[in-house]
């Protein structure tokens, strides 16, 4: 929730500044570039086979945020009572139109990078593809169950790393046999050694991030959605986790990647979608889209 409201405030702050530059992408150029990525795919990726795996059809996502009251109406009891008496409803409840009519088709073997400024709806779009946020209108059609890479929300700081590994694995839908099988691998990969017996609240932030990444990347998926800021930690671990992401991508059918680090996107994706204020501004070859994105 905190993360959402933070994004919200960023949207609001952005609003007046970008009013002029917004608007529709030229459909022609987008269509032309969208046809290209198949030839421009990076070597380790298998070329898209042409079977659609994810179809997003005129998707709109609206969610309600509570407690985002502005300075003036900030709540004391008298104000709250006045609002009820004046029948103003609930001003602290705001509707956020995060994704406004997005459509695209993703194919087997695609690795699609999603770029855009803070609050442009990237994370919301990923959650909608994962089937975690219901669409306001339009729809998302998928082949199998897309999964978000990340179990942070299921873990508990007060528990030991050991318990958290088991809990996280179950939360991702593993069976007891799978958990047993993966347990040692997760401990080894995270490199937290004997700290696994201590509560996660005693970990350094790097150790916590390593353990979380190790848990969330222990499962393979058909359609995988990766939100940014996964590869944290020291340089050695970053290298390890980049390799792991590459491996996951090879095993998964279709991958969506949200990142602010454009270098990562350029290296790993064969197609880039540029979201701007909830709409697709450009969709196509990574080089072209990223060049345009960097310009404006």
């Amino acid at each position: 929730m905190a993360e959402l409201t933070e994004e919200l405030s960023l949207v609001k702050a952005e609003e007046p500044a970008v009013a002029g530059t917004g608007g529709q992408a030229k459909p022609k150029s987008a269509a032309a570039s969208a046809a290209q990525p198949k030839t421009a795919a990076t070597p380790p990726l298998d070329v898209p086979t042409g079977t659609p795996t994810v179809i997003v059809d005129d998707l709109h996502i609206v969610y309600r945020v509570y407690g985002a009251a502005s300075e003036v109406e900030k709540g004391n009891a008298v104000n709250a009572l006045m609002r009820i008496l004046k029948r103003q409803g609930r001003p602290q409840m705001k509707e956020v139109h995060a994704v406004k009519g997005v459509s695209f088709v993703a194919y087997h073997g695609d690795a699609i990078g999603i770029v855009g400024r803070n609050g442009s709806g990237k994370s919301t779009l990923l959650r909608a593809i994962a089937g975690l946020l219901p669409p306001h209108s339009g729809g998302v059609y998928t082949d199998g169950q897309p999964s978000l890479l990340g179990v942070n929300a299921a873990l508990m700081r007060e528990l030991t790393g050991e318990r958290n590994i088991v809990l996280g694995c179950y939360a991702m839908g593993m069976t007891p046999a799978e958990v047993k099988e993966k347990y040692q691998e997760i401990v080894d990969f995270s490199g937290i050694d004997e700290f696994v017996q201590l509560p996660m609240s005693t970990y350094s932030s790097g150790m916590g991030a390593r353990l979380r990444f190790a848990i969330s990347s222990a499962k393979t998926h058909d359609v995988l959605l990766i939100d940014e800021a996964l590869a944290t930690g020291d340089r050695e671990f970053r290298k390890k986790s980049e390799q792991r992401i590459r491996k996951i991508r090879e095993e998964a059918g279709t991958v969506f990647l949200v990142a602010h680090d454009l270098r990562v996107i350029e290296e790993t994706c064969n197609r880039v979608i540029w979201l701007h204020k909830g709409k697709i501004k450009m969709d196509g070859d990574p080089k072209e889209v990223l060049a345009a994105y960097n310009k404006g």
Partner: protein
């Protein structure tokens, strides 16, 4: 090669106006809506497949809950005991609620522990969805796992309380009786009821933000109506001279009162425990089955909407 390109063209067209091409394309390749609600039997099966998660989640929450307090898990027993002590002084001694009740301390504690179990399940259920939005927005699982896990967490706590209760019942001079074997049966029925009630509250709590503020008052009213520290029969018929059916309604229309009554019959009466009368059993079973079926159905109906905010 040509196929994907045309599909992308479809996508471009779909973005601006007609939606049909994309929906058709999805149908042609057998893609399904990401957020379709599974049919009810499928849903129950998915829930069963998640049993390990539900159990682990409940245990983990129990372990982490008291990890910051010095007495730790002891509070699970201390809280209802302290509550019972206050009620004993207030209602038993000061206001004379004791009346002619046999073995009042055991009477009070039984009511307290049984009622607390239902009350906490209901309260926890109301928070199970609204308090876990980040989890719901990050991972895919049948949402009923959460209210279920919360009820199981309460059940785990109750197991300890029941041990304490048995000790106290013995100390206060009740003999061990064969009827004690019926205890798990009553607890099972009550658990089924609590699961159902928790599911209903979970859906209500997900959409009504103010419910969590209101619940303490509702549960307190419920506590007073359930005859936890007085005998409904004695107060309603004996002292207030109301007709017998009023007392019957208070016993049988209130699931909490039914479970308390059944448990008291089993554990404490003047000549040792006895088997609860049929009417109490019928009420206990009815509430368990009704709440469970209705709760699951009601919760499942909104499955795809949880997490919207």
């Amino acid at each position: 090669m040509s196929q994907p390109e045309s599909a992308v063209a479809d996508a471009q067209a779909g973005g601006r106006g007609g939606q049909e091409p994309l929906a058709k394309l999805a149908a042609r390749y057998g893609l399904r809506r990401a957020i379709a609600r599974p049919r009810f039997p499928v849903y129950v099966r998915q829930l069963w497949e998640r049993r390990h998660f539900i159990l682990t989640y409940a245990t983990s929450r129990n372990v982490s809950k008291y990890s910051s307090s010095a007495l730790g898990q002891l509070w699970q027993i201390l809280t209802p005991l302290l509550n019972a002590a206050i009620y004993y002084v207030m209602f038993g001694l000061v206001l004379g609620g004791k009346g002619t009740i046999h073995n009042y301390p055991a009477f009070l504690l039984t009511g307290m522990f049984v009622f607390t179990y239902t009350q906490r399940s209901v309260t926890a259920g109301a928070k199970s969805i609204s308090g876990n939005l980040s989890l719901i927005r990050a991972l895919h699982f049948p949402r009923a796992s959460l209210p279920l896990a919360y009820t199981i967490q309460e059940l785990q706590q109750l197991a300890i309380s029941m041990g304490v209760l048995l000790v106290i019942v013995l100390i206060t001079g009740e003999p061990i009786a064969l009827t004690w074997l019926l205890m798990p049966v009553v607890l099972l029925l009550q658990t089924l009821f609590n699961v159902g009630a928790g599911l209903v509250m979970a859906r209500l709590g997900a959409s009504m933000r103010d419910l969590n503020q209101l619940l303490p008052f509702i549960t307190r009213t419920w506590l007073y109506a359930s005859g936890v520290f007085f005998s409904i029969q004695e107060k309603v018929v004996g002292a207030a001279h109301m007709p017998q059916w009023v007392a019957d309604v208070m016993y049988y229309a209130n699931p909490a009162a039914s479970y308390i009554e059944a448990m008291r019959d089993i554990l404490i009466t003047k000549d040792g425990g006895h088997v609860p009368p049929d009417s109490v059993w019928i009420s206990c079973v009815f509430w368990a089955v009704f709440a469970l079926c209705f709760g699951f159905w009601y919760f499942w109906r909104a499955e795809e909407r949880y997490g919207r905010g």
